[in-house]
Symmetry: C2
């Protein structure tokens, strides 16, 4: 039987984090993704690899920097993952003809097949999620998320505290 101090605040609305937008975004993202990410790992892929497959399925032959930004992966990390995926035979590199600094990443046949399969499964999974929401809720949510994403893509600081003056560390001494 649960002791007093065991009871978990089911929805502690009194706190800060429980209504903090950035927390809600991170928490919802984590929670909603957990299932599918587990599925991805069961297929022998890591989450970043799945993201790369998905992004390349949308548009093959992206350059490394592009792909990293789209797949939410830091550039040097992406480079290493592409190494591994190339070793697994899922992608291959080809340097851009016109600008030989650039390296474009292409799906192999196996990568394309695996990507297509996972994208299908992701679609199905998404349907299942949306089915648990209220009618129209998903559309509203997606719109708002796209809006936020668009606002903060490039940069355009929001200034939590003047970016120049990093918020004096010890506020007024008495």
């Amino acid at each position: 039987m649960a002791k007093d101090e065991d009871r978990i605040e089911i929805d502690d609305n009194t706190g800060f984090v429980g209504d903090y937008l950035l927390y809600l975004l991170a928490a919802a993202s984590d929670a909603a993704s957990a299932d599918f990410h587990a599925h991805v790992r069961e297929q022998g892929l890591r989450v970043p690899e799945w993201r790369i497959l998905a992004c390349l399925s949308d548009e093959d032959g992206q350059m490394v920097t592009q792909l990293a930004q789209l797949a939410l992966i830091e550039q040097s990390h992406l480079t290493k993952i592409v190494d591994q995926m190339a070793a697994k035979g899922l992608v291959k590199r080809r340097s851009d003809e016109r600008d030989r600094r650039r390296v474009r990443v292409f799906l192999t046949a196996a990568g394309r097949a695996l990507g297509a399969r996972l994208v299908d499964q992701a679609r199905a999974h998404e349907h299942a999620i949306i089915a648990r929401l209220r009618p129209g809720e998903a559309a509203l949510l997606k719109d708002a998320l796209k809006h936020i994403h668009a606002l903060y893509r490039a940069g355009s600081r929001v200034s939590a505290a003047p970016a120049a003056a990093p918020v004096e560390l010890e506020a007024r001494p008495t």
Copy 2:
């Protein structure tokens, strides 16, 4: 001047990821959080440390497992971060009187002060974000995020593909 192949798809609506809920959640979360996370790091804290401070500011003396779940950090990792924060003098451990398996984490005076300051700044930053959204959009968004979070907190699989049959890896060989 930009060459043809340079133009970046401003909003590639034709693709899968650009309208995939789990992607939008992760991308919006990343994008919206980038600024404040940078601010946190300028203060000499890592993001998980900030999350811990925020969670403890809401409710001090949480047990490790509780705190890990709330702060979106894996348990063994949280343990290590608490070690470091204790070394920095931001938190201290105290084992629970009634159940000595449990370890409760408390803010020190310094930790409480730093946490309070950052929470204030986070509130200001959140206001700045919300100000850039449409009226009422933030409320709708938060509701939807809380809804999703609530649906997927404990588990309750959504089945993307039969969890038991992990989707045969090489489909029919001709």
